[in-house]
Assembly symmetry: C3
Homo-oligomer: 243 residues x 3
């Protein structure tokens, strides 16, 4: 099975072209969209979305991950083996949050791909060949020991709790933070103090709360509303957890 | 076959995670998106979208339907059998427009799911097991005879026709009403009187018309434009049909 | 395999209904979305998106293409055979950029479809029957020799280069033009002179450039930004290429 994660959006025919290429190389191979809604060229959010999604896909899944502002430059194309799954994409940090990763640089014979659309011309064909077994991970190319890493800021311990920040805002307006999930205490954000609850529906209508979201991170939410809009939250905004 | 209808949108990796879970339980099972564009937490529009779509899917389809502001509270998870299809989701009215429904509360052994993402942790696994035949409808749990219902307002008879209202606005700006489709007469809406026609192209360029849409409901449309934007139409706006 | 290209968007259940119909006629047939993000009723952009995508799908693919403001009027429904692929849709120019096309009018027995949703009621069933082999292209209906054509404006030669125009803007804000791709020279657009480069990453941060995009057309792009927003570019805007 192949799973796709990109910042291409769905308005243009770019994702469709990738799927056409895969279908030509691996007829009948199931292809699943993780999302194509990573904010354009936002490698960090792409890495976080992948982090939230990959554990839910079965072992053996081959992921094609493309958030690639450096396409056509000297950044390396890589395949990562991690957690019994394979991940194909650019060496720019997008694939650097995976656990115990082994990196290989893509170095296989083939026509020189375009310099603007490696998702279609390089990563999808490689993924299709990996998924069918026509190409083995060990034959992708040489091992890489200096892959580019991105760092997710860690929460800082304070005398009475933790100080963290908003990592991204989801489509419901929930602000997902770098604080670990918990089921008690309270948070301070945008000058407000909010209770930590265990379900969205525990908030009164319109109420603002914090809770452990589906990725085990603490998030700030509003019942029947957008917490991010109401509180003016963007990535980087400070969120403090009090015991 | 499994079909998905949610209010998750496609920007986040939530739908992808659901599909990953299904693929792990039911490898190779076709999964089709009905839509993930239900307005956030709008159970009524979700029910109407399902009403518009399910008849076009073959008997035997298992639908996963998630518009679920009460996730994690005491609202019941249910499976509905109707029209030779199965529908998995929350007991909040979302599944209450189906014809001759039989409701069962989900009560099967398994780890306690998260309290924030039953689409991924409860409804998708149940649907995958129903679709493969590993779980039978009669074994889902006890029958429910007091399922939550939502009501779609009925049109009111008037001396010279019917008075109805806008139910929702689609992506073309067409305003879909609760009035039954017809091919004659005229409608009054926002102080305008519009002819009832039988095809969008029957209107002159820019012209406003009413016609029977693809769900057999009367809708207000504008050729080469958005009727909803031009006329300021929102759900609840009055539309009168005159003979 | 069946591939879908429409202007339906993904907010409504319209695409889902089409897929349900196909699944009922051709169970297990792979269905791939090219895109559903053609601007509403924009036949020209639909034809350009199809032009950008179809070569990447394998021979034998059956495309359902629906950008159809004239649905229900006298415009003809057609099937086009071109490049070992089939294309089903309205005769309004949407399918007129295909190479060496053979056109047939759809004229097969069957219930009269709705006058508002031929994508679901006519084009999808025909495509499903073509894809399974239940219907052969020669049996679709009579040949058509006067299919509607749309013209993409050609660049004009000037003393020191070419004058072209923006055809559409993609989701990254890149402005795709009717100028043929090149790897040297410069372009004049919105009073600016931009270098022609060969990769997005060749631009400095925030820099505006022109380059050959993934469809072999010259496009105007901005690193880490939207060229269309920065330069105020819309379809029809003049872009001059200088040697």
């Amino acid at each position: 099975m192949i799973a796709l994660l990109t910042d291409f959006g769905l308005a243009d025919p770019y994702v469709g072209a990738m799927k056409g290429v895969i279908a030509g190389i691996a007829p009948g191979m199931p292809v699943i969209d993780v999302t194509h809604g990573v904010p354009p060229q936002d490698v960090r959010v792409g890495a976080l979305f992948l982090d939230a999604a990959w554990p839910w896909f079965p072992p053996g899944t081959v992921f094609v991950c493309v958030v690639d502002p450096g396409v056509g430059t000297r950044r390396r194309p890589i395949v990562v083996s991690a957690a019994d799954r394979l991940f194909v994409g650019p060496d720019n940090g997008l694939l650097s949050l995976l656990p115990d990763p082994i990196f290989r640089r893509i170095d296989v014979a083939g026509p020189l791909p375009s310099r603007t659309f490696h998702g279609r011309d390089l990563f999808s064909p490689i993924a299709a060949r990996l998924a069918t077994g026509a190409l083995a991970f060990v034959d992708v190319g040489p091992l890489v020991d200096d892959a580019v890493r991105i760092d997710i800021p860690a929460p800082r311990a304070e005398t009475d709790g933790w100080s963290g920040e908003v990592l991204y805002v989801d489509g419901f307006g929930n602000a997902i933070t770098n604080l670990a999930g918990t089921d008690s205490g309270s948070v301070e954000v945008s000058g407000e103090r909010l209770p930590v609850v265990t379900a969205y529906g525990d908030a009164p209508p319109g109420g603002l709360v914090a809770l452990t979201g589906s990725t085990n991170r603490l998030e700030v939410a509003q019942r029947d509303g957008s917490a991010a809009a109401t509180l003016g939250l963007r990535p980087g905004a400070t969120v403090r957890l009090r015991a």
